[in-house]
């Protein structure tokens, strides 16, 4: 403590709290969720005029009504999150996952639609391989362009990646208009009635593939970030660019390499959307890029914790939508409100975990005065 203190102190001050015990942090998070559920319960009672317990039960039932979809959606959101984690760890605020996945998916769909038309003999395996390569290439272009500009011209990556999203959206719009010959602005499921060319064959069912990919990528990302030299370099650049430079790390190289990795994962995801999940392209495909940022933050950029956070978000979304269905609200508003409230509390409680609030009550002031 400093020896000189002002006469009047603020009521409290906030300091960073790096070492909160795990148990205490968990307790705070649980309290936040309970408080959120309480508020949701009261609101539900006012809005739906039903017993909140019944509503919670319906939420639970709804989330698990289709377990495969629940897990697949979790897996897709998780992969989205994995794509942004390395950049975030480096404090490179990549908001462009949406656009990167869209660009990849668009490239894959283009192959899926036009290659069989041009080369009818093309085998499905070759087509799927080409789709994967095209998707990864397109996504990597979308992620590496902002990275190069950041590395060499120090442009603002937040705005740059955001703008790349809009370019991808406009491109998708343009392609759908050009490719769709009916003029309705809708591509439909590509090759549904055409031998399902370019569709990745199901592994017992069509959901498992995304889940397997998510598990493998999560394990990879966990090891990459924690136990490899690359991962160490990424966190060092995130801590301090100058320190990184001092110890001889090529910061430009690290930035570009890390964003390429993000692009690669987005490319895989775009390929999954095209070949296994949606089989079409429109502005809504993917579309989880911004939710993924939330999921990544909530998990503190830890890929294993992100398993939980992405499941939590998907569970909430599915459950609250089911409540709207079950109680015939005829509207999406309720689901949006519920998800909003719970996020508010969960994100809000992170403040109390990451920071310490110290009240400057009289007692400490007196003690300090004695010291003076």
């Amino acid at each position: 403590m400093q020896t000189k203190i002002a006469r009047r102190e603020p009521l409290f001050h906030i300091s960073k709290n790096d070492a909160m015990p795990f148990g205490k942090a968990l307790a705070i998070r649980i309290c936040a969720i309970l408080a959120a559920l309480l508020v949701v319960g009261i609101l539900s009672m006012i809005l739906i005029k039903e017993n909140p317990l019944l509503i919670y039960m319906s939420m639970f039932e709804g989330a698990f009504i289709d377990v495969w979809t629940l897990f697949q959606n979790t897996a897709l959101l998780l992969i989205f999150g994995l794509a942004v984690i390395p950049a975030f760890q480096m404090k490179f605020w990549n908001l462009g996952a949406n656009g990167q996945v869209l660009a990849g998916c668009l490239a894959a769909i283009a192959c899926m639609k036009f290659l069989p038309e041009k080369y009818p003999e093309i085998s499905n395996t070759v087509l799927i391989l080409i789709m994967a390569i095209a998707s990864i290439l397109a996504s990597c272009i979308w992620s590496v362009v902002p990275a190069i500009f950041k590395a060499y011209f120090n442009t603002n990556e937040t705005l740059f990646t955001l703008m790349m999203n809009y370019i991808a959206l406009a491109l998708v719009d343009y392609c759908v208009f050009t490719w769709d010959k009916t003029g309705s602005g809708n591509l439909g499921i590509v090759n549904l009635l055409n031998g399902r060319k370019g569709w990745i064959p199901d592994i017992s069912n069509k959901y498992i593939l995304s889940i397997i990919v998510a598990v493998v990528l999560t394990a990879f990302m966990f090891i990459y970030m924690k136990y490899t030299k690359h991962g160490f370099e990424v966190s060092l650049v995130g801590e301090s660019v100058n320190t990184a430079k001092y110890v001889g790390i090529d910061v430009k190289k690290v930035i570009i390499r890390t964003l390429l990795l993000g692009g690669l994962i987005c490319g895989i995801l775009g390929f999954l959307y095209a070949g296994s999940v949606s089989h079409t392209i429109n502005k809504e495909v993917g579309g989880l890029g911004f939710t993924a940022i939330l999921v990544a933050w909530l998990a503190n950029f830890d890929s294993l914790v992100m398993l939980l956070t992405s499941f939590f978000v998907v569970f909430l979304d599915a459950g609250s939508k089911y409540v709207s269905t079950q109680f015939q609200l005829n509207s999406n508003d309720y689901a949006n409100i519920v998800v909003g409230i719970i996020f508010f509390f969960v994100i809000g409680c992170e403040f109390f975990i990451r920071f310490k609030i110290q009240f400057n009550n009289k007692k400490t002031s007196n003690n300090e005065r004695v010291g003076e």
């Binding site: 039960m57 039932e61 698990f64 009504i65 289709d66 979809t69 208009f177 010959k181 009916t182 003029g183 309705s184 602005g185 809708n186 439909g188 499921i189 549904l192 009635l193 055409n194 999940v277 949606s278 089989h279 079409t280 429109n282 809504e284 495909v285 579309g287 939508k321 709207s324 269905t325 015939q328 005829n330 509207s331 999406n332 508003d333 689901a335």
Partner: protein, 404 residues
């Protein structure tokens, strides 16, 4: 957990059966009690398009003496795999017939129909039912071009009134139309509207602008404003927002609406609106399901089935005698004496249209495959329920295509 779930499910089922038991029953009441309907909509009831589908469903259930518990309603379902997933969830919840309301849902419904052969799947505005030929997948639409034609008569009469009052001369009789896409459904709509107006006001011409979106308030408003600036003295639209009606009210230009009355935002400009009532189709679809009958591959509602309706006429704006004229038109449609696309009433490039092939089969070829003119009549909605009139007729100028 499974036990609890099972218990909850069992309770819900018992409650829903109990609810059915107390309802008044009709002849096929017992069969109807076993029907559970799934409804999947693109937006929720804040969109006029989807509200029309949702409201009609409750009316249909009511008409059939069915309870609300027999409906599973999913709102806000995107035109992606989400639609397929929700169709599957409807089946998981015991639905034996599932209906989706948006054009882009079609492929996902077909996908689900292939997987659940015991459940019937129906889709509004789609085109593929007769091409994919699945026994449990059907399309439905209505001859809304008849409603548009009638609304066009109201527009023509209003313009006649302006000419008679000396506000405009006959050669300045120009209407404006805000369309979504250069797509057959829209083209059929504005062409029939134009022909209706022309039937009472021969000198009328029309300009069309496209927004490139089914729902975009700003673009629709901007398109209407630009049409008005370009000299249009009356506006109609095929798009789902209040954009065009509000622009008309602000400019004091009469408006003919679609899918719902817009009198509340345009008390001094709204004339009349045509709309599709989906309740008759829902009732037909539910009855077929209850009786185990096959649903028509392509069902087209008409004035006769009460699927095509005209909504309230605003006497403050509409020309005198509008109600009588519209009633007569609807009667003539019912009697079959009035044909919207009679080739005697329009020309293409200055010539009468004697033969025309339309792309009725939606397949990979996108070929004009079916002759649709017989005995001088372009037979819209005969070979499939969704419109296929995509002819650009004289008197209508497209100011742009797809995009605004």
């Amino acid at each position: 957990m499974k036990k609890l779930l099972a218990l909850v499910l069992a309770l819900v089922m018992i409650m829903s059966f109990a609810a059915c038991g107390t309802k008044k029953t009709e002849t096929s009441g017992s069969d109807l009690a076993n029907v559970k309907v799934g409804l999947i909509t693109l937006h929720d009831d804040s969109s006029t398009y989807d509200k029309n589908f949702i409201d009609a469903m409750y009316r249909a259930l009511d008409n059939l003496g069915m309870s609300k518990e027999q409906l599973v309603l999913y709102t806000g379902i995107a035109e992606t795999e989400d639609c397929y997933n929700k169709a599957k969830e409807c089946v998981n919840q015991g639905c034996n017939v599932v209906f989706a309301d948006s054009f882009g849902h079609e492929d996902y419904v077909i996908q689900a129909a292939g997987e659940f052969p015991d459940v019937k799947f129906c889709h509004a505005t789609g085109t593929k039912a007769h091409t994919v030929n699945l026994p449990n997948f059907s399309n439905a639409f209505a001859s809304i071009y008849e409603g548009r034609y009638a609304a066009g008569i109201a527009a023509g009469m209003k313009i006649n009134e302006m000419i008679d009052a000396g506000k405009i001369t006959a050669d300045k009789a120009l209407m404006g139309y805000v369309g979504a896409y250069t797509y057959a459904e829209v083209m059929s709509g504005y062409s029939s509207f134009y022909l209706g107006a022309k039937s009472v006001c021969p000198s009328v011409k029309m300009n069309v602008k496209f927004t490139g979106s089914w729902y975009d308030y700003d673009k629709e408003k901007a398109a209407a404003e630009s049409l008005i600036k370009g000299g249009c003295v009356l506006i109609s639209q095929h798009a789902d927002s209040y954009g065009a009606p509000e622009a008309c009210e602000a400019a004091g230009v009469p408006n003919v609406s679609y899918n719902g009355s817009t009198k509340d935002v345009g008390p001094n400009s709204y004339i009349v609106s045509s709309k599709i009532d989906w309740a008759p189709y829902y009732e037909y679809m539910i009855k077929c399901t209850a009786e185990g009958k096959e649903i028509d591959k392509d069902w087209t509602g008409t004035v006769e089935t009460d699927s095509v309706q005209l909504l309230e006429i605003n006497d403050a704006v509409a020309a005198k005698g509008t109600k009588e004229a519209l009633d007569k038109a609807l009667e003539d449609f019912k009697a079959g004496t009035l044909k919207v696309f009679d080739t005697a009433n329009f020309t293409v490039g200055g010539k009468k249209l004697d033969t025309y092939k339309a792309d009725v089969d939606t397949d990979e070829k996108f070929e004009k495959d079916t002759e649709v003119i017989t005995d001088g009549i372009f037979e819209e909605s005969k070979y499939r329920s969704a419109p296929y009139f995509d002819v650009e007729i004289d008197g209508i100028t497209l100011l742009d295509r797809n995009y605004g």
